[in-house]
C-alpha cells in the first residue's frame, strides 16, 4: 500500500466521521459532498476510474441537489403549518 492510498483511506474515515457527527441536515448535505469527493479520490487511487466517475457524479451533484431541494420542501411545509396554526388562533 502506498502512502497516497493510506492518506486517502484516512481522509475517507475522517470525512465519514464528519458526516455522522454533523447534526444539522444542511451541514450533513455539505459534508456528504466532501465525503463523496474523498471516496472518488479513493476509487481513483485504487485504480477504479469507472467507479470514481460514477461516484463523483452521484455524490457531489446528484445526491446533494436532491437532499437540498427536499430539505427546502420540508421547511416550507413546516413554515406553512406554523403559519396556518397562528392564523387559526
Amino acid at each position: 500500500m502506498t502512502i497516497l492510498q493510506i492518506a486517502v483511506l484516512g481522509a475517507v474515515a475522517l470525512a465519514g466521521t464528519a458526516v455522522a457527527l454533523a447534526r444539522e441536515p444542511l451541514r450533513q448535505a455539505m459534508t456528504l459532498g466532501v465525503y463523496g469527493l474523498a471516496l472518488t479520490i479513493l476509487f481513483f487511487v485504487f485504480q477504479a476510474p469507472d467507479v470514481a466517475l460514477s461516484q463523483v457524479v452521484v455524490s457531489t451533484v446528484g445526491l446533494p441537489v436532491m437532499i437540498l431541494l427536499a430539505l427546502r420542501k420540508i421547511r416550507q411545509q413546516e413554515h406553512e403549518r406554523g403559519g396556518r396554526g397562528s392564523r387559526e388562533e
Partner: protein, 257 residues
C-alpha cells in the same frame, strides 16, 4: 430499561461484535491479492473478443448487459415513482406572472456564481457527450455521462434562472428522454434476440479496437443508457424543484388571503 442496563447490554454486544470483526479481518486475503477468475478472464479476452479497451463497459453493456437492463429499469422505476408521488400535490398550473415573481424572489445567486454556472453549461454538455460516446474506449459510459449531461441544465438553475431551467428541461423533453433511453436499451437487447437468437447478444460488427465505433452494440447501449439516466435525474430534479421553488408558502398563502 435503565441507562445502566442499556450500557451493560451495549458493552457485551460491542465486545462480541469486535471479536467477530477481528476474526473476520484476520482471515482477509493480503492487500491487492486478487483471485477472482471472472475478472482475469474478461481482462484476457475482452479486447480480442469485443474490441473494447474499457472492459468495465464491456462487462456492463455486453457480457452482463442483462444486469444493466435490470439496473436501468430500477432507475426508471424510481424516477417515475418520485414523479408520481410529487405530482398529485401540484394542483393547477402555475400562472406565468406568479412564476416570474418566484424567479425574482429566487434571484439570490451572486454574479460570480452566475458567470461560473453559465460558463460551465457548454463544457458540461461536451464532457457528458464525450463520456457517453467513449464508454467502450475510456473509463465512463452511459451512466456517468448521463448524469453529467443532466447537470448542464441544472447550471441554469444554479445561476438563479429557475424558469430558464424549466424551459430547457421541459417535462415532455425529460420524460421523452427517459422513456426513449429505457426503451432503446431494451430494443438493443431484442435486436440480439432477433439477429442472433440470444437476448443482448452483440449483433453489430465489432469495428477496430480504439475507434469510436467499436465494440458492436456498446456505443448504442451507452447512448441509450445516457439518455435514460439524464432523463431520470432531470425528472427527479424538476419535480423536486417544482415542489421546492414554484410552490412556495409565499405564493399559496398570498393567493388564499
Amino acid at each position: 430499561m435503565s441507562r445502566r442496563g442499556r450500557l451493560g447490554l451495549f458493552a457485551v454486544a460491542g465486545v462480541g461484535a469486535a471479536a467477530v470483526l477481528v476474526v473476520g479481518l484476520a482471515g482477509l486475503p493480503a492487500f491487492g491479492d486478487y483471485h477472482a477468475a471472472y475478472g482475469l478472464i474478461v481482462n484476457g479476452v475482452g479486447l480480442s473478443e469485443r474490441h473494447a479497451t474499457d472492459l468495465v463497459t464491456a462487462v456492463n453493456f455486453d457480457y452482463r448487459a442483462f444486469d444493466t437492463l435490470g439496473e436501468e429499469f430500477l432507475l426508471f422505476g424510481s424516477a417515475v415513482g418520485v414523479a408520481v408521488l410529487l405530482r398529485p400535490t401540484r394542483g393547477e398550473r402555475q400562472p406565468p406572472r406568479a412564476a416570474a415573481a418566484d424567479e425574482r424572489r429566487f434571484a439570490g445567486a451572486s454574479p460570480a456564481l452566475r458567470a461560473l454556472s453559465i460558463g460551465l453549461i457548454s463544457p458540461l454538455i461536451v464532457l457528458g457527450a464525450y463520456i457517453v460516446t467513449h464508454g467502450q474506449l475510456t473509463p465512463g459510459g452511459g451512466f456517468q455521462g448521463g448524469v453529467i449531461l443532466a447537470t448542464a441544465p441544472l447550471m441554469a438553475f444554479l445561476a438563479g434562472r429557475v424558469l430558464a431551467f424549466k424551459m430547457i428541461a421541459t417535462e415532455h423533453l425529460v420524460e421523452a428522454g427517459e422513456a426513449f433511453g429505457a426503451a432503446g436499451y431494451a430494443l438493443i437487447g431484442l435486436g440480439g434476440l432477433v439477429f442472433s437468437g440470444v437476448f443482448f447478444h452483440n449483433f453489430l460488427p465489432m469495428g477496430l479496437a480504439g475507434h469510436l465505433l467499436s465494440g458492436g452494440t456498446m456505443p448504442l447501449s451507452s447512448i441509450a443508457v445516457g439518455l435514460e439516466v439524464a432523463g431520470a435525474f432531470l425528472l427527479v430534479w424538476t419535480e423536486l424543484l417544482d415542489q421546492a421553488m414554484l410552490h412556495g408558502p409565499g405564493r399559496s398563502s398570498g393567493g388564499g388571503s
